[in-house]
């Protein structure tokens, strides 16, 4: 005869030797933990997937936006190249965000002018070349200017020959 645990004896007395409730509790706890693990892994995976897709979307979109802006700069340059042009202002209506993230446009002038479009979180940087006509009176001054993405103005001043990209102050 095995010695009887005093607690068992009390439980035996309290539940009248009923063990079935124990399996319900265990299976309930198991259910709960499996569900939690499943949900957590699903959430983690989907969050990762969404982030991955977001980055890929940004990587696709930034060159397109950069291309559009470069196209408008070329347009301004072509107009500047027609004789007698005093001033050109082109409003480039770019979106404020790409895939739900704000972005920054950096203009680098000088002999090899180009645009850098970048987002932080995820960090994506895309470069687009600016092509100006050979012998064009327009030039982008050397140096670097940064502006936040959104509606952008491209201004050409015939008296100075400077082609400038600025944020649209009118909103």
């Amino acid at each position: 005869m095995s010695p009887i645990d005093p607690v068992d004896r009390v439980l035996d007395r309290a539940f009248g030797h009923d063990d079935r409730a124990v399996s319900t509790t265990v299976s309930y706890a198991l259910n709960l933990s499996v569900a939690t693990i499943l949900m957590t892994s699903l959430l983690v995976a989907s969050a990762g997937f969404v982030d991955d897709q977001r980055e890929r979307a940004i990587r696709t979109e930034l060159p397109v936006l950069g291309g559009q802006l470069a196209d408008d700069v070329s347009t301004a340059d072509r107009l500047a190249n027609t004789p007698g042009t005093d001033s050109v202002v082109i409003t480039s209506d770019l979106p404020q965000e790409v895939a739900g993230r704000t972005y920054e446009i950096t203009v680098r002038g000088g002999t090899d002018p180009h645009l850098l479009l970048s987002t932080t979180d995820p960090t994506v940087v895309v470069g687009v070349n600016l092509t100006l006509l050979e012998g064009s009176p327009a030039s982008i001054p050397a140096g670097e200017t940064s502006l936040s993405g959104g509606t952008v103005e491209i201004e050409y001043d015939g008296s100075t020959g400077i082609l400038e990209i600025t944020e649209n102050t009118d909103g």
């Binding site: 979109e61 072509r78 107009l79 027609t82 007698g84 005093d86 082109i90």
Partner: protein, 461 residues
């Protein structure tokens, strides 16, 4: 013992009562208090759903951008440049119109310039008004200013058919000297009046400051109008025309009767400054038009007025995405074919704004007769009359052989409004092979340089 068992029974009872109460609560409340951890699945499911929505939004924006990438939107530039071209066309037409129709008001050069400016401003204002309305229909603002600058030149020529003499009837004269820029030089020459050979034919000379000369002869040989060019280096070339009875020569474009004539390329190599001279101006008749830049002097062409060679206008074009400002220097339109705008130049301005009618010539008779028995010499006798509203200054009588060669010219000077002519070409030698129809042309000039002509044919066998 009862003391020992009593508490146990009491606890049993109490347990049973408690369980009964919990059962009651359980049946009264469908959600047991312990089952509230099930919300975890609900919340997690919701979070998952949200992340999928975010994914959809991201993919949607990617699709939108890809769509954006395929759109080529150059429309704003096209419209602006189209407007610029419209302005050029419109203003060019306005300048051409002003030059052509507002050149005779006022006798002073400055007064004429003012009249031209006023006319041009009015035309451009009217054009601008229409253009603004048209642009507004498309949601654009487009304006063109009145001219801010002018380039002046001189327009001279004759727009009624007469000999290429000056207003004094002189056949050797200089339309302009010290010419540095020539925008236009066109003439339309009547073939029937031309000399029959290059010798003594109508000649146009361009002489530069060191005396080098490009020379252009126009003559009629066997029904072909020949334009013959020889330059100071000794090279020569010519172009011919047989169509119609007029030959149009455009020295700036280098065409004869609308066809390219390489001989006229000498005009491209024109020196920096040159004089334009005419010799034997009475051996050609027709109309001509010459527009030159700054000149040292101008001769007595039937008309010589200031002309606008170019005007500067500013244009402003605004569309939702483009603001474009430009300054244009516009030159007048080329006015198409040169044509006489009056017979004998009835609307030729004669310097003081009034007009003058050309003289009227009538040949009563022209005949030939042998001057010796069995000889081959003939006398040609011409009789006729000339009248004019002012004064007949001179009369020219020319005799051409059957193949169009000029045999002789006779000139007479007068100072009367009505004169009679009686001239004889003595002892014209005619061999048998020269028989045929001889032609007599009488051209009269009045004191304003206007001309009138008449012809008579004589058969010699």
């Amino acid at each position: 013992m009862a003391d020992v068992t009593a508490p146990g029974r009491r606890r049993d009872r109490a347990d049973r009562a408690d369980r009964a109460a919990r059962m009651d609560r359980a049946t009264a409340d469908p959600v047991p208090a312990d089952d509230q951890r099930g919300q975890l699945i609900l919340v997690a499911g919701l979070a998952l759903a949200l992340s999928f929505v975010a994914l959809v939004l991201i993919l949607n924006s990617a699709v939108y951008t890809e769509n954006l990438a395929t759109r080529g939107d150059d429309a704003p530039t096209t419209d602006a440049l189209a407007y610029r071209e419209d302005v050029r066309q419109g203003v060019a037409g306005a300048i051409e119109y002003s030059n052509r129709h507002n050149n005779a008001s006022g006798s002073e050069r400055e007064a004429r310039k003012t009249a031209l400016k006023t006319a041009l401003n009015r035309s451009i204002d009217e054009w601008n008004e229409l253009a603004v309305q048209h642009a507004a229909l498309g949601g654009r603002a487009a304006t063109v200013s009145e001219p801010t600058g002018y380039v002046w030149g001189t327009q001279l020529g004759q727009n009624g058919e007469r000999a290429f003499t000056d207003t004094d009837g002189s056949s050797a004269w200089s339309p302009a000297t010290g010419v540095s820029e020539m925008d236009r030089f066109r003439m339309s020459v009547n073939r029937s009046v031309l000399a029959g050979s290059r010798l003594d034919s109508f000649e146009l000379r361009f002489r530069n400051s060191v005396g080098d000369t490009w020379s252009l002869h126009v003559y009629n040989s066997g029904g072909t109008t020949w334009v013959h060019i020889d330059d100071f280096t000794g090279s020569e070339d010519r172009c011919g025309d047989t169509d119609g009875n007029h030959t149009e020569i455009d020295l700036v474009r280098g065409t004869v009767d609308g066809k390219d004539c390489s001989a006229l390329d000498f005009a491209d190599a024109s020196p920096s400054s040159y004089d334009i001279e005419i010799a034997n101006g009475d051996d050609a008749a027709g109309i001509y038009e010459l527009v030159v830049g700054p000149v040292a002097s101008t001769g007595n062409a039937p008309y010589a007025t200031p002309a606008i060679r170019a005007a500067t206008v500013k244009l402003d074009y605004e569309s939702p995405s483009l603001h474009y400002e430009s300054t244009l220097s516009v030159e007048p339109h080329d006015p198409g074919a040169i044509r006489a705008t009056g017979t004998g130049g009835s609307d030729v301005p004669d310097g003081d704004g009034s007009t003058d009618t050309p003289p009227s010539v009538t040949i009563d008779e022209a005949a030939s007769e042998h001057t010796e028995e069995n000889g081959n010499k003939h006398d040609f006798d011409v009789e006729g009359s000339v009248t004019d509203d002012t004064t007949v200054a001179s009369v020219e009588i020319k005799l051409y052989d059957p193949s169009g060669n000029l045999i002789g010219t006779k000139r007479q000077s007068f100072a009367s409004s009505s004169v009679t002519i009686d001239v004889t070409f003595d002892d014209v030698k005619i061999n048998n092979k020269d028989s045929g129809t001889y032609r007599v042309v009488v051209t009269a000039y009045d004191d304003a340089g206007q001309s009138g002509a008449d012809e008579w044919t004589v058969s010699v066998s």
